[in-house]
């Protein structure tokens, strides 16, 4: 089998930044090829170059196979798709208002003949084409694990996150591609769901499909790929088998961080599945004086979107000085809970009291003034404002401008990033830097309770280490924290107590240590 996709010295720059700097690689037909690297390394840009969304400025991209190779560079995305290259999107781009069937049917567009005339005169004789299409769509849904009878007629926007990712794969398969590109297909999923994704990828590959996989989850990538390329700052720094790549010292420094030392399980063949972690609680010397009061009391909370009950019978409490984690898969309702606490969503039933106010009827800005501050999922820094302006806005609710300026200076020296980049638009920071900015910004509001929503989402393993260090620090300094994470391992390491949320309910609760040892939790969220 020859090479299906060949990249040679592909280059693309934006302004002064070389996003992709002379990358060459080859994907053998019938293999699963992994592409990894830190945020901003150029992975998605490379995919966009291959699929035609961005024109390459130099270099060639050739799609091979029987019949000779064809040049992809600088062609339109729909032309490339019709040539047999299908993709999913990092940000998940489904047709949300169309049904699951319709999503897949649209995917078949290229293989469908124009039927305008047949539609105008809908005689029985013309019905057999639409029926065949529908049958094919059903088969595709089955293939990705979505039962057509259950899911087919549902609007794509109403599906759970994991199912939506699967639907996107089904839609991509509809064009009968030779190469399938999966851009972070397992982002935000718990280990059980990720295993299902891994199985699906293996199965599709076994059926003959060549796959290019981009993801941050080392366990997934190392476990399923035949070959891996590593990008950093737009250049390829490694290219080889999973074992070779994970042992490469340059890769470890650039990307894998402490995770590589900790998680032997991430490299196939390395044996040990137990994850040795330092128990951090011993080192929290200073946090002596134990909790005074209950800060937050949530009881029987029910939040709904139309007919869908996203959160049900949720009750929990937080004492002053604690760090509490809510863990669970994407779509379990964790963010919904946080948004209800912040006053952005209103519950259908139940109560939530923070100190002396009722969160369910107070306006969001008053809630922040009272000391309940959220650092939202995806960071949501104000990209067009400078770092400094972002920080100043963090103190919007405060009146003491002198103290604010002192604190901004203190934060800037503590987190040098903020000082060095203070006059740059926040949008130019990397993911990890933005997360730190978002946390610093949240701190400036002098929160009594800080809500952190998925701080590690989309960050390379090395940055995740940095962010969790910050979280630990601010907790040690006395901030009460409610942490929502799909990275259950890190969350449970750092939390005093934790709650497991699944399909809108609280399934389990206990101390961080207890839950780490709980076999059910281990299986579902810690990867066995």
């Amino acid at each position: 089998m020859g090479a299906l996709l060949q990249l040679a010295e592909v280059r693309r720059h934006f302004g002064g930044v070389q996003a992709v700097d002379g990358v060459s690689l080859e994907i053998e037909s019938g293999t699963i090829f992994g592409l990894i690297g830190p945020n901003g390394a150029g992975k998605t840009t490379l995919v966009n170059l291959v699929t035609g969304y961005i024109p390459a400025q130099s270099g060639s991209i050739r799609l091979g196979g029987d019949g000779g190779a064809a040049e992809l560079a600088r062609r339109r995305p729909d032309v490339i798709a019709r040539m047999g290259v299908a993709r999913t999107f990092q940000t998940l781009r489904l047709y949300r208002n169309l049904t699951a069937f319709d999503n897949v049917l649209v995917g078949m567009h290229a293989r469908r003949k124009h039927d305008t005339l047949q539609q105008i005169a809908p005689l029985p004789a013309f019905q057999h084409e639409p029926r065949a299409r529908l049958a094919k769509a059903s088969a595709l849904l089955e293939r990705v694990g979505l039962k057509p009878d259950e899911y087919g007629m549902r609007r794509a926007g109403t599906l759970s996150y994991g199912d939506q990712r699967r639907l996107e794969v089904a839609r991509a398969l509809a064009i009968e591609p030779r190469l399938l590109i999966l851009d972070e297909p397992a982002a935000g999923m718990n280990p059980v769901e990720k295993d299902k994704v891994r199985d699906l990828i293996r199965q599709l590959n076994a059926d003959g499909l060549t796959i290019l996989l981009i993801d941050h989850d080392m366990r997934l990538v190392m476990g399923v790929c035949n070959r891996i390329a590593v990008l950093n700052f737009g250049r390829k720094i490694a290219d080889g088998s999973p074992a070779e790549v994970s042992a490469d010292p340059e890769v470890i420094t650039a990307y894998l961080g402490r995770q590589a030392e900790k998680s032997g399980a991430h490299v196939p063949g390395a044996g040990a599945t137990t994850i040795a972690t330092a128990d951090r609680h011993g080192s929290r010397a200073g946090a002596a004086a134990k909790p005074s009061g209950r800060m937050l009391e949530v009881s029987n909370l029910e939040v709904a979107y139309g007919a869908i009950r996203a959160v049900r019978e949720v009750s929990f409490g937080i004492d002053e000085g604690e760090i509490i984690a809510l863990i669970g898969a994407n779509g379990a309702g964790k963010t919904t809970i946080l948004n209800t606490l912040s006053g952005i969503l209103r519950p259908r039933a139940g109560s939530a009291r923070f100190l002396d106010i009722d969160l369910t009827v107070t306006s969001p800005d008053r809630i922040v003034r009272h000391g309940l501050v959220q650092v939202p999922e995806g960071r949501e820094v104000l990209a067009r404002l400078t770092v400094r302006e972002n920080l100043e806005l963090g103190a919007w609710v405060r009146r003491d401008r002198q103290a604010v300026h002192r604190e901004i200076d203190a934060l800037s020296s503590r987190f040098p990033i903020l000082g060095r980049r203070r006059d740059l638009p926040a949008g130019q920071l990397s993911g990890g830097e933005q997360q730190i900015l978002a946390i610093a910004r949240g701190l400036l509001a002098k929160p009594k309770l800080l809500l952190l929503d998925e701080p590690s989402l989309g960050l390379a393993p090395q940055m995740v280490d940095a962010v969790f260090d910050v979280i630990r620090q601010i907790h040690e300094e006395g901030t009460t924290i409610l942490l929502v994470e799909q990275n259950a391992l890190r969350a449970l390491e750092v939390a005093d107590r934790a709650y497991v949320v699944e399909t809108g309910r609280i399934l389990l609760s206990g101390t961080g240590a207890e839950l780490r040892r709980d076999p059910a939790v281990q299986k579902a969220y810690l990867g066995g």
């Binding site: 998605t44 912040s342 969001p364 922040v368 949501e380 104000l382 067009r384 404002l385 806005l393 919007w396």
Partner: protein, 304 residues
């Protein structure tokens, strides 16, 4: 020629004032407030009413009228915009509801003749009037062969002053930052403790006050006050201005306003009034095709 240039600068000031209000709402709130031209018209109508019907001195009437127009902005927010935000309506709904409000405003004035419901406001129905002579102080100066009317000078000075103040507030104050935050990401702004509703209301107040001011200055200097001055004179040209300058950019609205004034005067001098009318739109079309973000607007890129 210098006279024409002065005309250009002066009409440009009016366009700029109008457009700044327009772009403020569009840039900050992502809403194209199509009732803005109706408020422009009401600025002139109310001032006229206070002067001609109720006998107030001009300056007092102007200040009161501008304030009332600000209040009308609040009306627009509470009636046409807030209910839609609460219901997460798509952006096109705001277009339609502000159109509805504009219809109402214009119709009220159009139908107001002596003896009707609104005759306390306006009595000339669909006609055009001018401020009674003597009601407005209007010294003229003759310098270097050029005639400078006091009113036009006053307009220029007021406009520039206001735009400088606004620019300063937006760039350097905490409130200005909050405005920019709301413009960029409403949810993130809410989580920072910014009361988004209050920002909407204040923005609409300021924007409408500016629009009303532009209207009364227009009525003053061009001696044309009628229910249709919003629709015929500025509604679409205002769009042309903010497109030229860049939507959501205040300096853009200012530059765009003067630019359009200049283009129109040049077109009038070279080709006559027929072409002048269409030139704004030709410029609009060209700008959108060549550089959609306008002179100062930011490029909108979608993240894949």
């Amino acid at each position: 020629m210098t006279q024409q240039l002065l005309n250009a600068i002066f009409i440009g000031s009016i366009y700029a004032l109008f457009a700044v209000g327009y772009t403020l709402v569009f840039g900050v709130l992502d809403v194209l407030n199509l009732a803005h031209s109706a408020v422009f018209m009401l600025g002139a109508v109310i001032t006229y009413s206070l002067v001609a019907i109720h006998g107030l001195p001009f300056i007092v009437a102007a200040v009161v009228a501008v304030f009332i127009c600000g209040l009308l902005g609040l009306l627009i927010e509470f009636v046409a915009l807030r209910p839609l935000r609460r219901r997460n309506a798509p952006p096109i709904s705001a277009l339609i509801s502000t159109i509805g409000l504009a219809l109402i405003f214009v119709a009220i004035v159009e139908q107001a003749t002596p003896g009707t419901l609104f005759s306390w406001l306006w009595q000339d129905g669909a006609n055009s009037v001018r401020f009674p002579s003597g009601a407005v102080p209007d010294p003229t100066y003759h310098i270097a062969g050029v005639t400078l009317e006091g009113t036009k000078l006053g307009i220029l000075v007021t406009s520039i002053l206001l735009m400088l103040v606004l620019g300063y507030v937006i760039r350097y104050t905490q409130v200005g930052r909050a405005l920019r935050a709301v413009a960029e990401n409403r949810r993130a702004a809410t989580l920072l403790g910014i009361d988004v509703d209050r920002i909407f209301a204040s923005t609409l107040f300021v924007s409408s006050a500016l629009g009303g001011l532009a209207g009364l200055l227009f009525g003053l200097a061009l001696s044309d006050i009628s229910p249709y001055i919003g629709r015929d004179q500025v509604e679409l040209k205002g769009l042309a201005v903010i497109v030229l300058g860049g939507m959501g950019s205040i300096p853009g609205a200012v530059v765009g306003g003067y630019l359009l004034g200049l283009i129109e005067v040049v077109a009038f001098v070279r080709f006559g009034s027929n072409v002048e009318a269409g030139v704004a739109f030709a410029a609009l079309f060209l700008m959108l095709v060549v550089r959609p973000q306008g002179l100062f607007g930011a490029r909108l890129k979608e993240r894949l």
